[in-house]
């Protein structure tokens, strides 16, 4: 049965662990540059998610046998590895984007491995509601990954850029709730450690950046590390794909949740862009929250109609 307190605890553990590791690593070895903090954030994200999932008594299996296992054991560490290499030098930017694009295209194949979708004689892919995701999901993922990275660089160093990881954390938590309300408890629960880790790492990055105000801009660590954006986008996409393919999350709702963080681009037009940063940040968060709220309310309505009588909740 769902245990909201346990999910909140897992989220708290993930946030505290990731923030502590990131702060400890960056403080113990103060280097001038962005490479070391970036590696620290990647490791902090990894430990945060792992310990948060451990709190939920998640069963780690090798080789991973289901989509959620493959997301947590293969896809997210793979993303971390790419971000760690990408953070080593600015000369690797093109290589990093090539690697990110390849990973984005490969993720649906990895997550659906061994399932009826890829088994000869199994479900015909084109007759499935999943067809849209399976055939085209890699491109929207790569696209939203690039757009959110670009946006975080545009507002680099200002409070506005913090809205991107916050939006991703919010979308991840809403994805988790929607997957749970569609009947897949474990899949939805995994969103809490991921969301908590994003929040914890961003807090750590903000503290590190605040302490490095006296450094030149080129050497100052990023306020929003690319690793956080990547972990957020990939984690969100993976949870939604697993919820759609193996659970009963409707494709339309999953698409809305996946694309909701892109609403951060909304206030980028001339009239609003140069307003007070806090107002711009607030507009961004409101624009992201509206579709997410609608998606969760629809999921709740559907749950009340089909699942609640079954569980004796109403």
């Amino acid at each position: 049965m769902p245990d909201p307190l346990l999910y909140l605890q897992a989220m708290g553990v993930a946030a505290i662990v990731s923030a502590s590791i990131a702060l400890a690593m960056v403080t113990v070895w103060r280097s001038h540059g962005k490479s070391w903090p970036n590696s620290a954030y990647v490791l902090a994200i990894g430990f945060g998610i792992a310990l948060g999932c451990h709190w939920l008594a998640f069963r780690w299996q090798w080789p991973p046998t289901n989509g959620l296992n493959r997301l947590l054991i293969c896809v997210l560490p793979g993303t971390g590895a790419i971000e760690m290499v990408a953070g080593c030098s600015t000369k690797l930017t093109r290589f990093a984007w090539l690697a990110r694009f390849c990973l984005a295209i490969a993720i649906p194949r990895i997550l659906l491995d061994g399932s009826v979708y890829l088994t000869p004689g199994g479900l015909p892919v084109l007759e499935q509601p999943l067809a849209g995701i399976y055939l085209m999901s890699g491109f929207p993922l790569a696209g939203s990954w690039w757009l959110l990275n670009r946006l975080s660089q545009r507002a680099e160093g200002t409070a506005i850029s913090l809205t991107i990881p916050l939006s991703l954390a919010l979308a991840t938590l809403c994805a988790g709730l929607s997957v749970m309300l569609a009947g897949y408890l474990k899949g939805g629960a995994a969103a809490f450690p991921v969301g908590g880790t994003l929040l914890g790492t961003v807090v750590a990055a903000w503290l590190v950046s605040w302490r490095s105000d006296n450094q030149p801009a080129v050497l100052r660590p990023s306020l929003v590390p690319p690793a956080v954006v990547s972990a957020g986008v990939v984690g969100l996409f993976g949870l939604l794909l697993v919820g759609c393919a193996f659970g009963r999350l409707p494709l339309g709702r999953a698409t809305v949740i996946l694309l909701a963080p892109l609403a951060c681009w909304g206030p980028e037009w001339r009239l609003t862009r140069n307003r007070n940063p806090w107002i711009v940040a607030l507009i961004r968060l409101i624009l992201v929250a509206i579709p997410l709220l609608v998606a969760v309310l629809l999921a709740k309505r559907e749950f009340d109609r089909s699942m609640a009588p079954l569980l004796g909740a109403s």
């Binding site: 979708y117 009963r248 699942m307």
Partner: protein, 194 residues
């Protein structure tokens, strides 16, 4: 010369027929699972006060029975997990999800025998039982095995029950909830000789 050739051909055909019949007498009889007259059902405790019943509507299998050497008999059963039916559509949908059978990832529940021995009134069959991606050795006591002829078909029937713990097969413990961990699987099957 023609007489000699005819006798040679006759001898060859007769010899082959004797050899073939001798081979068949020693071979195991092959049976196909008869879906129409068989069932794989289960029941599990609800709140520890009553039982919830269900069945799998799509099952296939085959078995071979060697009456002279029962240890050579084999049994195979493939249950399509997607066909779970508890008489409640919403609950069936819920059972297909990854917290339970995860039918998109693990579409079938399989049993394949590895050893068989004859016992009084049937067979004791040990084999690999694979459910939810986890394989465990399970021993089934099959009652029956008597062959009858009906409507020009040779039919054999078996019945068995086995208790399994869902948690042993990787089912999520937090999702077990009000339904008991242990489920009793009841298999009644008929096989038609090929």
């Amino acid at each position: 010369m023609r007489k000699f050739a005819s006798a040679w051909i006759l001898a060859l055909v007769t010899g082959s027929a004797i050899l073939a019949s001798g081979h068949l007498a020693g071979a195991a009889d092959e049976y196909a699972y008869d879906l129409v007259h068989s069932s794989v059902s289960f029941k599990a405790r609800h709140l520890d006060i009553s039982w919830i019943h269900g069945r799998f509507n799509q099952v296939e299998g085959k078995f071979s029975l060697d009456r002279e050497d029962p240890t050579k008999s084999t049994f195979e059963l493939k249950i399509h997990a997607d066909s779970v039916d508890t008489g409640n559509k919403a609950r069936d949908e819920h059972l297909r999800q990854p917290d339970y059978f995860d039918t998109k990832q693990f579409p079938t529940i399989d049993f394949k025998s590895t050893s068989t021995k004859a016992i009084k009134g049937g067979y004791e069959v040990t084999g690999d039982f694979t459910m939810h991606g986890v394989t465990k050795k399970v021993t089934l006591v099959l009652k029956g095995g008597k062959e009858i002829e009906w409507n020009k078909k040779k039919i054999v029937g078996f019945s068995t029950e086995v208790a399994l713990k869902r948690s042993d097969f990787g089912f999520d413990k937090s999702a077990i909830g009000p339904i008991g961990d242990e489920a009793l699987i009841i298999i009644d099957c008929e096989g038609i000789r090929n």
